[in-house]
Symmetry: C2
Subunit: 280 residues, 2 copies
């Protein structure tokens, strides 16, 4: 009888799901990926994706994920539901939701998501987003991210090339909102779809960079388009990824952010977009 390897990495523990019935899984929030008042959004996105990846009816591999942060996630257990809305010959469309039971015994939806999976076939391929020139990770200092502020910050090794989080919250507006850095799990972990999904949300809020003012923020919706298959992700190993993100507009309480993540060999692994609430 095959024995599963022990779940030693905190990421694997954080996204672990136990099957309840054919469309439901149980999980629990992880202290290792806790943010200030709830889980790190990237881990929530990875859990939503994992509900599809663990589903017995899964066809193919992830192409697209949109996760909507609908309400607060309380510390403790949750249920993840994944259901195929439509299954075609080579593509499949999924509904996903994460729910918790509140103090009144009522079910509350904290997260909604849609996922598209597909069987990929080799075709003509090209990139219109080459990896920017970047000094090697080992020549750059690791960014200081006080894990006591938010535990999840300690779970990522970030080595900034430009656009690190402001060192002085002096309200001096920045000319642009571009951050570019090398990034990997801490401790290092072989790359897969769930880990890449979480990494797509590691960027601190662009409005903080733009304004050097730490206004309250919260991601509303995030999308990830996967350009790599599982073999290409596995081939990336636990090397650093080059990640960049920039905002496009900040207006009346919401800004958007668009980002790209390449592996160390320069292969674009995913593009990612999000819209974020900010106050003031």
């Amino acid at each position: 009888m095959p024995v599963s390897p022990p779940l030693t990495h905190p990421f694997d523990q954080a996204i672990a799901l136990a099957a309840q019935d054919s469309h439901s899984f149980s999980g629990a929030t992880s202290p290792a990926y806790w943010n200030m008042i709830g889980p790190f959004g990237g881990i929530t996105a990875a859990i939503a994706l994992n509900a599809v990846l663990q589903h017995s009816q899964l066809l193919g591999e992830p192409i697209s994920l949109t996760v909507n942060y609908a309400g607060p996630v309380a510390e403790g257990p949750f249920t993840a539901r994944a259901r195929p809305a439509r299954t075609n010959r080579s593509t499949q469309h999924w509904w996903v939701e994460l729910v918790q039971t509140d103090a009144n015994g009522d079910e509350q939806v904290s997260t909604t998501a849609t996922v598209v999976t597909a069987a990929r076939r080799p075709t003509w391929s090209a990139s219109d987003a080459p990896m920017p020139d970047a000094a090697a990770p080992d020549t750059l200092a690791r960014a200081v991210r006080p894990g006591k502020l938010a535990a999840w910050l300690a779970r990522y090794e970030v080595r900034p090339l430009q656009g690190d989080i402001p060192q002085h919250w002096d309200g001096q507006a920045s000319a642009d909102s571009l951050s570019r850095w090398w990034l990997r799990d801490d401790p290092p972990r072989p790359l897969d779809f769930a880990a890449l999904t979480a990494m797509a949300d590691v960027f601190f809020p662009r409005v903080w960079l733009k304004r050097a003012t730490r206004v309250p923020v919260g991601t509303v919706s995030m999308t990830v388009y996967f350009h790599a298959d599982s073999a290409q992700l596995a081939a990336s190993g636990s090397s650093h990824l080059l990640a960049e993100a920039r905002a496009q507009a900040f207006r009346n309480g919401f800004f958007d952010q668009t980002g790209l993540l390449w592996n160390a060999q320069g292969m674009l692994l995913c593009s990612t977009h999000q819209i974020v609430y900010y106050k003031e």
Copy 2:
């Protein structure tokens, strides 16, 4: 008793929904927005959004829309369902699906979507995506889009600045996949959320521009982030919008596209992203 204005514009006819019950609406596909083997994807996205806009429980205005093209849409009637998954004090998260009954009497989901709506408040605002310099629309020729190929092409006035659809399908790869053009409804129509949503899907497939080869394609998922509120959209009137889109990666059957739409005054109205299937 107030009288609704007649539905004279084909766009309004195409997205019209009649309430069935509190969460369901009936509609029908429109010949005016027909593509080659189904409706123009932009009109399907606008219908999904309209189901939320018409819902009696709607809170606020659209912030984010993700629409997934799950299966073919047949000519004829459909049902649009919209249901709030979670309603907070100032934001609301929606599930939307479009379904049809097939020849066996079974319900088939053709489209899934999630929508976030919110009450927007004035805040500090800025743009990191200024409108590019562009010659005025009346100095540019209208692109030739044979409406006999696909009826919806005649519903948009496109005046290209660069990256028009290839005039010669000679397989000569293009250096990039950027298209930039002025765009408006034909006949002109005052801008609103539904119309802007449809316009976000007017870009022809980037893989055609990149390869000058007309391979089969189909959008899998599209996201729109709205940066303008209804008053700002209304203030844009029926003037041309400047629209641009570019691909980032083409790999093994799927490419992504990222786009921006500004009004004639240079205000960024939305950013939009999609992932598209292509064959070969």
